[in-house]
Symmetry: C2
Subunit: 393 residues, 2 copies
Amino acid sequence: MVNADAYELGTNRSCIRELFEYGLMRARVVGKDQVYDFSLGNPCIPAPEEVRQTIETLLRETDSLTLHGYTSAVGDYETRQAIADDLNRRFDAHAQAEDLFITCGAAPGLCAVLGGLSVPGGKVLALAPYFPEYKPFTLGAGLEFDDVKADVPAFQIPFDALKEALTPNVVALIVNSPNNPAGTVYTRQTLSRLSALLTEKAAEFGHPIYIISDEPYRELVYGDAKVSFIPKLYKDTIVCYSYSKSLSLPGERIGYVYVPSAASDSKAVYGAVAGAARKMGHVCAPSLWQKVIARCTALRPDLLSYDRNRRALYEGLTEMGYTVAKPEGAFYLFVKAPNGDSIAFSRLAKSHDLLIVPGEGFGCAGWVRLCYCVSYDTIMGSLPIFKKLMDTL
Amino acid sequence: MVNADAYELGTNRSCIRELFEYGLMRARVVGKDQVYDFSLGNPCIPAPEEVRQTIETLLRETDSLTLHGYTSAVGDYETRQAIADDLNRRFDAHAQAEDLFITCGAAPGLCAVLGGLSVPGGKVLALAPYFPEYKPFTLGAGLEFDDVKADVPAFQIPFDALKEALTPNVVALIVNSPNNPAGTVYTRQTLSRLSALLTEKAAEFGHPIYIISDEPYRELVYGDAKVSFIPKLYKDTIVCYSYSKSLSLPGERIGYVYVPSAASDSKAVYGAVAGAARKMGHVCAPSLWQKVIARCTALRPDLLSYDRNRRALYEGLTEMGYTVAKPEGAFYLFVKAPNGDSIAFSRLAKSHDLLIVPGEGFGCAGWVRLCYCVSYDTIMGSLPIFKKLMDTL
């Protein structure tokens, strides 16, 4: 007498979560410093000090009913205007407060966008490797889901495969750059080519094909890499953003959906996103956090420690002969299993208390994901084990 | 190319929200003190001072990664244990941390419960008058929805009508006491009779019929009225709670679902609720607020001002000859339209800048809802207008 899909989803713990719990258990047995846990993408740099100061100021200066009261379902006007200003300053986006819908993080934002675009028989594509939750989110919204196999080892876009997958019932393509799990960033050239292909196909099919751009890692980019703002390259782009990583506030659930006014049927899409959110019990995003964001849109994360980890791990592993996707963004490293079998490789690593996630769940067998949002000591301590594994295989 | 239901839901502003916006507009024209706005159920007593102090303590004593990091999807263990302790202390509930799932308020909690109970062809009943969102929440979860006409003017439960509505495909009945919009509280006798009827029907149908008890107003009760804890009277009760009203934190989105371990298939129901939430993008409830709740479960609202408003309005209106449902809980007064036509009565009131909501949207024509979470001056200023309206009709 319960919903079968929901039951399975609620009781089948993800492989990542299981590894993480295993790591906690092992830490109690062998000591925390003897476990090299690269399983979970939980930020390890604190929120900027300005966030704490802003909360204290708000508590002092704002009356309780304003600070903690219901906001409009779409979000406080001031917050939406501050985000629009930030997008305009950085990307010349021409965003307006009316284009923004404040959400409890990127995940419910994605669900609301998918729900809003859910037409009978519609299909959504994701480019492998991809965040596993895209699939239940899409199916939950009543849409079909299909993935496009990965462009290995560049992890850009495999255009021939994508072209084939673009059937007339495709309503949207989910794009995630910087990418979880690959840590790669799509070049401007890749995105321009994507724009041209989708424009051509949309004309052929006689309806828009939206890009749903999932951008929780937008600000996490290193070295010379640049993250293009996709709505500037392809007008039918809907952005889902989260402050989880950029302000290290993953538990606080604050983000937004941006439907550019230049997008096809933008007013209808915005309305449908709002309605889909309402059907799922969205009332408003947490009020205090909306007010914090309104004052903190200009803050950027201090990426020094992530960058140091990234370099140490990337250089260490490539020197040993591992094949690694070029890590330019987010906090993930995607590594080819030396023997080609990512599950066996992860299992072997686990027996050395080195916890890495096989790529199968991300739609990309043969590769493993490492989250380098860990301590530098964990990175350095893990290298001899990686060396031993390489020598074994 | 958008979802039609979602579009309609997202763009058709509710009658309540429209009245509220009209009130703001009129306030700019005639002055705020000349508008008597009883439209919106937004708490007007501030959050207890302890809430502010708790946030300040947490900001001082808890490191950023713990305070703002992801929690488990079901919620922090400490928060769940604190809520279980509170329920056990007050209601002898035998609750455990494992029975609780922390949500972004009662609305997404309801959606997750409905999603978890969504079996093919299943139906959910609500007792009129009811919170209008129950219908889109239920339909959005893929279940049928039906309402049982109101028990006028006692606003208890119309057992004959309910008995007839209890067809074999009914999986749950939504109960909301203290009630929005009627402000009434079900007596222990009513609930015992309900328990007996549902027990009988569940045995007849060969499957459980759950009560989904929506309890955002549980702590808002006046005079001699008592709110019974329904799981003690009927074991197959799933509780959806919110701190929006009890701690005056409506914008912060924090509440819980409680699936008592004594309920039929409780583990399966809990798992399905978690999975349904996951499908809608639930990651965790806001982390800071989870930690506040863990330390504030014993706080109760200071109801003096609500109670003063309630008495003044109830006594004033009954003296004039209005028929009013006995107001024992929440912050609503349900009043019979003197001419029987609630839409015409509301419209006439509106022409005097008195904003009240017709009962049609709550499934109860002929009555109007007044939210008395307003200033005492608004109450006193409105009485002469109510008098004039009564004299006119």
